[in-house]
């Protein structure tokens, strides 16, 4: 894989700052594996605020929906969350395949209400990285391969100045889920 234009450390610092500013808390309280909800007291509106700040920082569009909401939309209601609001086996398979490395763990039968508490700064870093990774090799406006990171955060074409056309976060998740299904990831989880 080529060296990313924006380093993971830069993204992490931006995540830390976004959380600190949105919650008006010291950035030192934010650690990579802090539960945004349980450890930092984040509520749903705060998460939207944090996402908005990251969008401004990197000129990206963060996902509006959680992974498991996308699963339900793409593969049908009941695929990820059963009628008692508990995670299904398929939800666990998908979650672990996608977010396993980000540290959070889920289990079948867990209440969906517990899932948002699994979001950590590390999860947000991963989401931003994935979106930035959708930057095409060459600039669609001028055809040159001359991406630069002018102000340290936003990717622009060094040749023509165009902003990098990055996929929206929700599209990245949907694409990942489509690919996962295409390579048989879902069927192998069916008992």
């Amino acid at each position: 894989m080529p060296e990313p234009l924006i380093s993971q450390a830069t993204i992490y610092r931006a995540v830390q700052t976004a959380i600190g500013e949105a919650l008006q808390i010291s950035e030192e309280k934010v650690t990579p594996d802090s539960s945004l909800i349980k450890d930092l007291g984040v509520e749903s509106l705060d998460l939207i605020d944090i996402n908005f700040r990251l969008e401004q920082d990197f000129n990206i569009v963060m996902p509006r929906k959680y992974l498991l909401e996308h699963v339900e939309e793409l593969f049908g209601e009941g695929t990820a969350i059963d009628s008692q609001d508990r995670l299904t086996g398929a939800a666990v398979t998908i979650w672990n395949a996608r977010l396993g490395s980000a540290g959070a763990a889920v289990r079948a039968g867990m209440s969906i209400e517990e899932v948002p508490a699994l979001v950590t700064p590390r999860t947000l870093v991963m989401v931003v990285e994935e979106i930035l990774a959708t930057c095409p090799a060459t600039c669609p406006a001028c055809g040159k391969s001359a991406w630069t990171v002018a102000d340290g955060r936003t990717i622009t074409c060094g040749q023509c100045g165009a902003s990098a056309p990055l996929q929206a976060g929700d599209d990245v998740i949907r694409q990942w889920l489509e690919d996962f299904r295409a390579r048989g990831g879902l069927t192998s989880s069916t008992p």
Partner: protein, 257 residues
């Protein structure tokens, strides 16, 4: 002495945003305040407690009570506490709202239940529990609606619940007319609160609209205060638009133009 002196007021969802300003305004008008918030252990709990403390320090009676108004048992428990601590209720402002931000076609069953539970059922639960505490005296109820009840906003299914709310206002006003309890709605325009944080993600450029497109929180709160005074006792079952005139104009200059 303020126009609400000696009255007891509950504002649902008053830890932050508009609800917080309404609670403060009613308190400044002399009312004792119950500050309600939904989620225990989070930021809104801290903010609700801080507000209650601030009002107490200014000489008002005030408490913060946690209750998810979408849960009937939680509402009953909150009103039991209000009854025990205050013995009465005179003013009820139904401000709490909670909704997914999605297109209608994308709403899952869970989203639909969340919409209906908090924004429809929750307000009915609160009314049903409040009425015994309002027995035998004039009272005032204000529902907080939004322009979403009449106009389409992007990814704002809450608007359909606000439309239902504005219908409920008329039904309650009629049912309670003989009891000298006024019921009205305030249809709020664009606010610079946490709601703008949400809106700007679904309505690109909304934060760059001219200042005149927004209505001040304090202006909205003052109208609500008026509706909660005896001077407004003949206003019944109305939904007052408080939007700084935004909805009068079809044409608005595009941001940046």
């Amino acid at each position: 002495m303020g126009p609400c002196h000696g009255r007891v007021a509950l504002v649902t969802g008053s830890s932050r945003g508009l609800g917080r300003v309404i609670a403060r305004t009613l308190s400044e008008a002399g009312a004792d305040l119950i500050i309600n918030y939904r989620q225990a252990g989070g930021r809104s709990e801290a903010q609700a407690r801080a507000l209650a403390k601030e009002l107490v320090e200014r000489g008002s009676r005030a408490v913060a009570i946690q209750a998810d108004i979408g849960q009937k048992d939680a509402v009953a428990a909150m009103f039991q506490q209000i009854g025990a601590e205050f013995g009465r209720l005179d003013i009820l402002v139904l401000n709490a709202a909670r909704a997914p931000f999605k297109k209608v076609g994308e709403l899952l069953k869970r989203d639909l239940l969340e919409l209906v539970e908090t924004n429809y059922l929750g307000n009915v639960y609160c009314m049903q529990q409040a009425l015994p505490l309002m027995q035998g005296r004039p009272g005032h109820v204000v529902f907080i609606s939004s322009l979403g009840s009449r106009f389409v906003l992007p990814s704002y299914p809450l608007g359909s619940m606000k439309a239902a709310m504005e219908s409920l206002v008329k039904q309650w006003a009629t049912e309670l007319g003989e009891r000298q309890i006024t019921v009205n709605g305030v249809t709020v325009g664009l606010l610079k609160t946490d709601s703008l944080i949400v809106l700007r993600q679904y309505w690109p450029g909304v934060e760059r609209l001219p200042a005149s497109a927004f209505v001040e929180l304090e202006d909205v709160a003052r109208v609500i205060l008026f509706l909660c005074t005896d001077a407004a006792r003949s206003i019944r079952g109305q939904n007052l638009v408080v939007d700084n005139g935004l909805s009068n104009e079809l044409l608005h200059a595009a941001p940046g133009s």
